[in-house]
Symmetry: C2
Subunit: 218 residues, 2 copies
């Protein structure tokens, strides 16, 4: 595999409803100023045409900053946008289909909700795993049970690709999540719902660094 | 434009919830035996992976019968399936995007909910219009107000592509819909919820013929 996996350290998943009425572009740009390293466009309940417009606005601002934008679930939106890739869940289009439609250079991520999902991840197809939920979360009502840090560490050792942890992660627990083995933390409400999205992203970035230092010192 | 628009006479839109627990493949095949001429796969609430599996099962059965299968909204599903095209609504990916992603041979349909949508239809891009709702309908809770037969006739004269009428159409009113100018009738519950889907499709096909005869005799 020749694809370079981008920096997953602070991986922002957008959520219009959790953004407290603010423009999502503003939320995302503030997060990037604070240290978000990758943005996933997720807007499940919006019409595709609105998400397309939002994605175009985001790409225009993120490209010059070198921050990748990937699209949740909808490979057609990723194609239409010329986005950097997609993230698919276990019920979405299979990663093999996404890879075939997007080509070899796209980033393809796959959600892993527990050990039973491990066989679904082919490292020749999938670039990184989104493992979670690590903690109970309010931003995904249909989420599977929380895995906890120990299971995250176990899954990380079994997975042949980088892992971004998701689900209930905040600046308060991000260092522990990274110390447990995650390569990055993925957040929705910890940034989208924060009073100051830049400050929130910055706190997460610091926590990720702290977690890496902890891991390095063991 | 060199694309040949297929027979739109009895255009079935699938709906798992309205199919009374029956297998959708069985519903569709019965409808085709009765005279359905085109099938649109619509399964808004199902995970994409399930719809992909359903689409594969449908294509396998419909291809040998020469009945086109098109996909509602999701261009990526159409691409993954190798389906015959897509139908997009005004809030879905724009038809221009669908055309670009699917190529020149795919069928691209666009929903027209009133005169205000007419400028959105470029006949170099869109193969047919789905005009409706003609009558009040229960199978699309977010539908716009019913247009009625007179407005259908007016829109038909203004539209540069064939028109399939949708919304509250049954065997009891299909002839009047065709007589008002539609090239075909699109139904959901009139077939999916019928006691006998084959009989229901057959009654619709007869009504379409009757409507054409009425129009021809004017």
């Amino acid at each position: 595999m020749t694809r370079r996996v981008p920096d997953l350290s602070v991986y922002l998943v957008t959520d219009r409803l959790l953004s407290r009425g603010r423009e999502l572009v503003d939320v995302v740009l503030a997060a990037v100023r604070g240290g978000a390293t990758l943005v996933q466009l997720r807007d499940k309940d919006a019409p595709a045409r609105e998400t397309l417009a939002l994605g175009r606005a985001l790409l225009e601002r993120l490209r010059p900053l070198g921050v990748p934008l990937i699209v949740n679930d909808r490979v057609d939106l990723a194609l239409a946008l010329g986005a950097d890739g997609v993230h698919v869940g276990q019920g979405d289009l299979p990663p093999e289909v996404a890879r075939r439609l997007l080509g070899p250079d796209a980033l393809v991520g796959l959600s892993i909700t527990g050990a039973e999902d491990l066989p679904t991840l082919d490292p020749a197809v999938v670039d990184y795993a989104g493992v979670g939920p690590i903690f109970p979360t309010g931003s995904k009502p249909d989420a599977t049970p929380a895995l906890g840090l120990e299971e995250l560490g176990r899954l990380r050792r079994l997975l042949p690709v980088p892992v971004v942890a998701i689900g209930g992660i905040s600046a308060a627990n991000a260092a522990a999540v990274i110390a447990a083995g995650a390569d990055g933390v993925s957040v929705v409400s910890a940034i989208c719902s924060a009073d100051d999205c830049e400050v929130a992203a910055s706190a997460l970035a610091r926590a990720v660094q702290e977690g890496r230092a902890r891991r390095g010192s063991r």
